[in-house]
């Protein structure tokens, strides 16, 4: 295999493993803000216990997100040096802005969120929680600006620059505003954030359903479930609207991707169908075993059943791999519909007061959390594989973007290294998540470890007292 394929595999492996964590931290971050806000308002200790419990889960995910995220920042340079030279002038500033505006905010105030319970006032702690949640959203904004620019480049000019080897072309910034608000930024951002909310909500649903089935932390679990089911339902329905808007955006700016997603091999004379299911066959240029709804794609894209949609035959050789794009897109849409159905059904049961008696439904929710994880991952697969063969759409080919000095064995070596580390991290992550969930939130009825030691701890928190206590100890 050559360096291009290997580097693509490595990027796919590292980004997909990384992306297990950010949407979960974005989703749980908002949950923390909500829970702690309720606690401050009501002084209900249950909310405090819930905040502390979810903070532990949040912190574990955050740490893994940081550890795997730094790989992404390095990889543009290590494996895609030619790309970096070509786009650095435009793409790099979004990445740097992410560092300055988002990472410092998140990582700084995470310290207070996790370790600061006894160090700062309750209000200051709440502010830290809000800032961490904001930081994770800022981070999403900047990275999505950068990624979207690759998909729908805007606000740049191609210019020749002099190097010792002669002049080379590169993309240079023309309008920062157009880069920020390139045609796909807003649609993509909304879609990604909603994806994070759906995942966060389903995660809470899964844990709460498990407690309800095991009859542990029942009060906590009921409250959590009831809140999360609303969030999940609203976000899942909003996802449908966002998905529709994004589909039309893709049709306008990346018609080849849309054709691959929907398996439209031939440009239709009239309306184009949706293949609800099917297996695209690139050899025969047809979708096998397909269940079609005639004209629906045309309606979704153009709001008219009869307008033709360009097929893959319009784009020559520059088309993405159809199978992977088609399947990942269809699975994502299918999961999205599943989220709507299952959350609406649960809400209906909740209204009738039968939700918590339906054990099978609770079991469904215990395992449904896998759905949003998969949907978040393969949504990106559809978006990024669908961009091929371009790394910057219609500007730079993926095959021209890799580092020229790399040998296949070097990249294979790093793939094996990341594969081994990530397999281990995945196992530890699942183990620790399970461990924390099994332990559950602290019970609130018993005063926490009420003893003399605590009184001393409380006293020693006051700086003045710390000094005197330490001195007293030293003199002993």
């Amino acid at each position: 295999m050559d360096v291009v394929i290997l580097s693509r595999i490595q990027f796919a492996l590292t980004i997909m493993f990384h992306y297990l964590f950010p949407p979960l931290t974005i989703g749980l971050g908002l949950l923390l803000v909500f829970l702690e806000g309720r606690y401050l308002k009501t002084k209900d200790l249950q909310y405090e216990a819930a905040t502390k419990f979810w903070t532990k889960i949040f912190a574990l995910n955050f740490a893994l997100g940081v550890a795997t995220g730094i790989v992404m920042e390095f990889q543009f340079g290590t494996n895609w040096a030619a790309y970096s030279r070509y786009v650095g002038d435009v793409f790099g500033s979004a990445l740097a802005a992410e560092g300055i505006f988002a990472f410092f905010l998140e990582s700084g105030f995470l310290a207070i969120l996790v370790f600061g319970w006894d160090r700062v006032s309750a209000k200051m702690h709440f502010v830290a929680t809000i800032l961490v949640a904001l930081g994770s959203i800022f981070s999403a904004i900047w990275i999505i600006v950068a990624i979207s620019w690759q998909q729908t480049p805007a606000g740049f000019v191609l210019r020749e620059v002099a190097t010792p080897a002669g002049t080379v072309m590169r993309a240079e910034l023309a309008s920062f505003r157009e880069v920020l608000f390139n045609p796909s930024t807003v649609d993509r951002l909304v879609h990604v954030l909603l994806g994070a909310f759906v995942l966060g909500a389903f995660f809470v649903l899964s844990v709460s359903a498990y407690y309800l089935l095991r009859e542990r932390h029942v009060d906590f679990a009921r409250k959590s479930f009831t809140t999360a089911i609303w969030v999940a339902a609203v976000a899942s329905i909003a996802m449908l609207i966002s998905g529709d808007s994004q589909g039309r955006m893709v049709a306008r700016h990346q018609p080849a991707k849309l054709a691959a997603m929907e398996g439209i091999f031939h440009t239709t004379d009239s309306g184009a169908p949706i293949h609800v299911i099917g297996i695209p066959d690139s050899e025969e240029k047809t979708v096998r075993y397909s269940l079609e709804i005639p004209g629906l794609l045309s309606f979704l894209v153009h709001r008219d059943f009869n307008t033709p949609v360009p097929g893959l035959d319009q784009f020559g050789a520059d088309i993405p791999p159809v199978g992977l794009t088609f399947f990942s897109f269809h699975l994502m849409v299918g999961l999205g519909i599943y989220f709507i159905v299952v959350t609406l059904y649960a809400l209906w049961c909740l209204k009738r007061g039968t939700l918590f008696n339906r054990k099978w439904l609770l079991w469904v929710f215990v395992f449904s959390v896998i759905g949003p994880f998969i949907a978040n991952e393969i949504g990106w697969v559809a978006a990024e594989v669908g961009r091929q063969p371009w790394i910057v759409y219609n500007q730079l080919r993926t095959s021209e973007a890799v580092s020229q000095n790399l040998t296949p064995s070097q990249v294979l070596g790093s793939i094996i290294m990341f594969g081994a580390i990530y397999a281990m991290l995945f196992a530890v992550w699942i183990y620790l998540l399970n461990d924390k969930i099994q332990k559950g939130p602290e019970p609130v009825s018993i005063p926490p470890k009420g003893s003399l030691r605590d009184a001393v701890d409380v006293a020693s928190r006051y700086p003045g007292h710390t000094d005197s206590l330490t001195e007293a100890k030293d003199k002993d």
């Binding site: 740490a63 940081v66 550890a67 795997t68 730094i70 390095f74 340079g77 290590t78 040096a81 970096s84 030279r85 650095g88 002038d89 435009v90 790099g92 500033s93 990445l95 740097a96 992410e98 560092g99 300055i100 505006f101 990472f103 410092f104 905010l105 990582s107 700084g108 105030f109 995470l110 310290a111 207070i112 996790v114 370790f115 600061g116 319970w117 006894d118 700062v120 210019r159 002099a162 190097t163 010792p164 080897a165 590169r170 240079e172 910034l173 920062f176 580092s403 020229q404 000095n405 790399l406 070097q410 070596g413 290294m417 580390i421 530890v428 461990d435 701890d457 710390t466 100890k473 030293d474």
Partner: protein, 338 residues
């Protein structure tokens, strides 16, 4: 001063911020195994628990800023040092998860594993930073396109290894002083000994590095000859460095910490000043050097980046101050600790 020069300085600022802040928490990692029992190890780990992540963001932002301001340098360095950077990523991942995982399970073998991983990862990362800096100074084989034409082992020459040992020594000293501020009693006495050892190692490696730099880099003094004011920085470095043992001896650890921080800042300055206007020296031909001028982004991009930095950096400094203030004082192990 034009924007290219300004961004060279700003990158130096980010690098110095990283070296000073992550310098001490990498040092704590290197010293981790010297702690004698679980309680001491937890205190050591928790001394950096709330802040190591924020410290590492300086590196991430340094990388991002280099990508944005000097994309050619970013591309050449990161692809040229491929194997070294993969090892660095390996170390940084293990360091992060060691801190996070170690206290999550009450098993001696589990803790032992993460103790060694925390130590090894900290040592490897610190060493590799020095190796990278050493290579940047003496030059690496790059061609006219800026593409690295050597192999990984070409990077492990005596001079970069010496600079690697220098960074490890300074991290030990800096980390020990930090730990001295955060610990009490027996553990504090232990790290007190490490402050002296760290200073001794730093002194030896600093002198060796100075001699070798003169020997292997005939151009090393070029900028110093042209700009005589720069000798003031050299003198300030020596004074700051000499002030470290003085402050330790006088029993003023915070003063020692400031002195060692200033020494690191000054070393980063000397490193950058020696390189300027080059950012990567080509050992193939001086014509292929990547400089502040031939590797930068357009003026427009640098201008926008300057605005971003002007808006963002005051916030960054404010957060950093708030966090360090919130976690001032000695380490206390609580239910929230690692």
């Amino acid at each position: 001063m034009d924007l290219n020069q300004l961004w060279f300085i700003l990158l130096g600022f980010l690098l110095a911020g990283y070296a000073i802040l992550d310098g001490f928490d990498l040092g704590v990692g290197i010293l981790h195994l010297s702690a004698r029992d679980d309680r001491e190890r937890r205190i050591m780990m928790n001394s950096i628990g709330p802040i190591w992540d924020g410290n590492e963001v300086w590196l991430v932002t340094f990388g991002g800023a280099m990508f944005a301001a000097f994309p050619n340098v970013y591309a050449t360095v990161f692809s040229g040092f491929y194997v070294a950077f993969m090892l660095l990523l390996f170390a940084l991942i293990f360091r992060a998860v060691s801190i996070e995982f170690r206290s999550k399970r009450d098993s001696a073998a589990w803790k032992r594993f993460w103790d060694f991983s925390f130590f090894g990862a900290s040592l490897l990362a610190t060493f590799l930073f020095g190796v990278a800096a050493g290579n940047a100074l003496i030059g690496i084989p790059i061609n006219a396109e800026g593409v690295f034409t050597g192999a990984f082992l070409d990077l492990l020459r005596p001079y970069p290894i010496l600079i690697g040992l220098l960074t490890v020594s300074f991290a030990v000293m800096h980390g020990a002083i930090y730990l001295y501020l955060k610990t009490e009693q027996a553990l504090q006495q232990l790290v007190h000994r490490w402050m002296w050892r760290g200073f001794g190692l730093s002194l030896i490696s600093y002198m060796l590095a100075t001699i070798f730099t003169m020997a292997v880099m005939p151009e090393a003094l070029r900028n110093f000859r042209e700009h005589s004011w720069s000798w003031l920085i050299v003198i300030a470095t020596v004074f700051a460095f000499a002030n470290v043992p003085r402050a330790i001896f006088l029993g003023r650890p915070f003063y020692a910490f400031l002195s060692s921080s200033f020494t690191i800042l000054a070393l980063v300055f000397l490193f950058s000043f020696t390189l300027y206007p080059n950012m990567v020296v080509s050992s193939t031909s001086p014509d292929y050097n990547l400089t502040v001028f031939n590797s930068a982004s357009s003026e427009k991009t640098l201008g926008i980046m300057t605005v971003i930095a002007l808006i963002g950096m005051p916030f960054v400094l404010a957060y950093t101050a708030v966090i360090y203030w919130a976690f001032r004082g000695k380490v206390r192990i609580t239910e929230h600790s690692y």
